[in-house]
């Protein structure tokens, strides 16, 4: 009988396992606490939370006003605050202002609102280039902004966390709040994309 060899686990996976078993054996970490944290980020929080906030701001002008004046308070109204989103600032994109979020010192990110950050957000390239050449970075994401638009970069270097309120796309007038939320992407809430208008289903026959 042939023995099947599985591909060996990556070095980082092995290292994490080794550290975890050491911490558990020494009684420093309770595996149940780890499972709770992993389950939370795998199944409960993610960009859908931020999308819900954005969609509400699009349909409710009073909520939008509160959200921009006091992000923390307005998000708390929806019960959507949490770890690493304790102090929230929401910045609105308009026809003349485009906002972009970065953390040059590490990878600070509104975890309770957007989930865990994407790998590129944590990369040295993004963290260093987003501040000095944001327009080139945005162009690489496929977003070319005219000179008439002011680019504002927000470095989350302290304890405040940022969320971009993207512009509501044209062609989304009749949509429900839930359908609007489905249009909102993670990158649009970091500022590396715009929210695209809804696409009509392709007709089967002309």
């Amino acid at each position: 009988m042939t023995t099947h060899h599985h591909r060996p686990e990556s070095e980082i996976a092995l290292r994490v396992k080794a550290i975890e078993s050491l911490l558990v054996e020494k009684g420093i970490v309770d595996p149940a606490a780890l499972d709770t944290i992993i389950e939370h980020y795998e199944h409960q929080v993610g960009p859908h939370v931020g999308a819900q906030i954005v969609a509400k701001a699009w349909v409710d002008p009073d909520f939008k006003r509160r959200l921009l004046a006091d992000g923390t308070g307005a998000i708390a109204e929806l019960g959507l605050t949490g770890f690493s989103s304790e102090h929230m600032i929401v910045v609105a994109n308009t026809a003349t202002v485009h906002n972009l979020i970065v953390c040059t010192l590490c990878s600070c990110y509104p975890w309770a609102i957007l989930g865990l950050p994407p790998t590129w957000y944590k990369s040295l390239a993004y963290r260093s280039r987003a501040v000095i050449e944001p327009r080139s970075v945005l162009a690489e994401f496929g977003l070319v902004l005219p000179d008439t638009v002011e680019v504002c970069v927000w470095d989350s270097n302290a304890d405040l966390r940022y969320l971009v309120l993207p512009e509501r796309p044209d062609g989304a007038e009749g949509l429900s709040e839930e359908a609007l939320a489905a249009l909102v992407t993670r990158n649009a809430m970091i500022g590396t994309a715009k929210v695209e208008p809804p696409t009509s289903p392709t007709p089967i026959a002309a």
Binding site: G27, I28, V29, D30, A32, A33, L34, D35, T36, I37, H40, T81, G82, F83, S84, S85, E86, H87, I89, T104, L105, A112, V131, I132, P134, R135, D147, V149, E150, V151, C152, V153, W154, D155, S156, N157, A158, D159, L160
Partner: protein, 122 residues
């Protein structure tokens, strides 16, 4: 003065509570701010060998205080388990050209959250 930390193992219930409630770095304090909205401020030219939230690229640059976020513990000292040293944190706007020179677009800007201890008069 040093900050004592607990070595107690976190329970699943404590983890859940932390994820839901978060961990506030803000301090209820009537400490007066060193700067006002609209003030021009300069990020200090310091190069601490220890932990700091003052990015190197902004040191020595002049910006405008746009908002006072209130009083927060100071990560530069908390990070060394020294004093919490609560102080005001401000949103400070730096024109892109002030940071990167005349080739940067005149309209663009960068916002940082800086503590009293990071700032001085222009």
């Amino acid at each position: 003065m040093t900050i004592e930390t607990s070595n107690q193992c976190m329970t699943a219930a404590a983890a859940k509570a932390l994820l839901q409630q978060g961990l506030s770095c803000q301090v209820n304090s009537d400490l007066p701010p060193q700067f006002q909205v609209g003030d021009l401020v300069r990020a200090r030219v310091v190069h601490p060998a220890t932990y700091t939230r003052l990015p190197r690229y902004v040191r020595g640059k002049v910006g405008t205080v746009m908002q006072d976020h209130g009083v927060y513990v100071f990560p530069d000292t908390v990070g060394q388990l020294l004093a919490t040293k609560p102080q005001h944190v401000y949103s400070v706007r730096f024109p892109a050209q002030a940071l990167w020179g005349p080739a940067a677009p005149a309209s663009d800007a960068l916002y940082l959250d800086l503590f009293d201890d990071h700032l001085e008069g222009p």
